[in-house]
């Protein structure tokens, strides 16, 4: 039996995977990372992509929208993001949050157009993620 390490894949909203794996292939921002048991301690940021791992039963994969990988010799944790993060998108969300507060202080209706458009953009992005997810599953 091959040597295994414990892998946890968790996102802020739910736990995605937890179990023993023989090896892990993660989409690091600098390029893909292959992690085997007894790897030295490492922290890396991950970009959106496929997380592949080999369990005793065979290979499996998950789509993650980026996140952070923490490696300890016998435990590996993937802190997955729930959405694709980009500086400019975050920026626009921050602007929207500020604007809503200003509008609310002025007594305006918070559900104005600007918010709606951003919401629509977000929904589109979500749909995109789901699509990538599906493709990822069929490819493996």
């Amino acid at each position: 039996m091959a040597m295994t390490m414990h892998l946890d894949v968790v996102s802020a909203e739910e736990s995605l995977f937890s179990g023993a794996v023989q090896e892990l292939l993660a989409p690091g921002v600098m390029g893909d990372l292959g992690i085997m048991p007894r790897h030295s301690q490492l922290i890396s940021t991950l970009k959106a992509g496929e997380l592949r791992y080999k369990t005793n039963d065979g290979e499996a994969s998950l789509f993650i929208a980026g996140g952070i990988l923490e490696v300890q010799p016998s435990v590996v944790t993937v802190l997955a993001d729930t959405a694709i993060r980009a500086e400019d998108l975050d920026e626009s969300l921050a602007e929207a949050a500020k604007k809503r507060a200003e509008d609310a202080l002025d007594g305006k209706d918070p559900d104005d157009m600007d918010y709606e458009t951003i919401q629509a953009e977000l929904d589109a992005a979500k749909a995109q993620i789901e699509m990538i997810h599906r493709i990822g599953k069929t490819l493996r």
């Binding site: 946890d8 736990s15 301690q41 890396s44 940021t45 969300l93 921050a94 949050a97 809503r100 507060a101």
Partner: protein, 286 residues
Amino acid sequence: MAGLKEIRSQIGSIQNTKKITKAMEMVAASKMRRARERMDASRPYAEKMHQVVSHMANGHLEYQHDFIKDREKVKRVGYIIISSDRGLCGGLNTNLFKKALQSIVEWKEQDVEVDIAVFGSKALSAFKRYGVVAESTHMGDSPSVQDMFGTIKVMLDAYEEGRIDRLFLVENQFVNSMTQTPRVTQLIPVVAGELDEMKSHWDYLYEPESKEVIDTLMKRYIESIIYQGVVENIACEMSARMIAMKSATDNAGDMIDKLKLVYNKARQASITQEISEIVSGAAAVE
């Protein structure tokens, strides 16, 4: 004495109210169960984040993040207040706002300005006049982290740019379904005292630069705490509403019982009167 018809209609309307509060109680109970599941589901992430961040705060690392360093001079502080969107949940929001206000007033007495970001429309209307800079409301029963980025980022940016020197979180803590306690915690600078046993001398390998990784990690850490707070608040809201509605239902039941007694007395009185009229009428005829 009130007319029989009036009492009857009053009983009817209270009965309707009772039905509504009963329904709300049951809805809140089932939503609470789901909210608690969500709360539990988000816990592993937050715990793991906490572990990694505590390690970094305690370890001898090459790069110290802004969020770990304590600033000596405090000129302006930020508050993030998490409340519910809807009322009818007992004293949940009121207690929270009292706690928040106490803490805010303490700062104001020291001539420290306060910036506030809110989650939930109740907090928005309560803190309007204290200077709300960002808000996220109407996130529903299953909020996504995405809905919160904007508001969180406003506060984190304010900290990084030096506009605020401390950031606090005001939230309800879910003790059990009967008890929720409001609390104020310091988010930034990160307080990482609890994991002293982890004081270790090794450091991680970073990929790419330690700075970039730690920057992302710190942001996610704060976000995860706030997400956890919002999810926890929903569980609190639902259980508080369940209790409030349960006591409303009980009260409605008591009122109906009392009114029924009055109603029966009035009915009996009117029957007695009728009989006595008939009897006296008959007596007069004889």
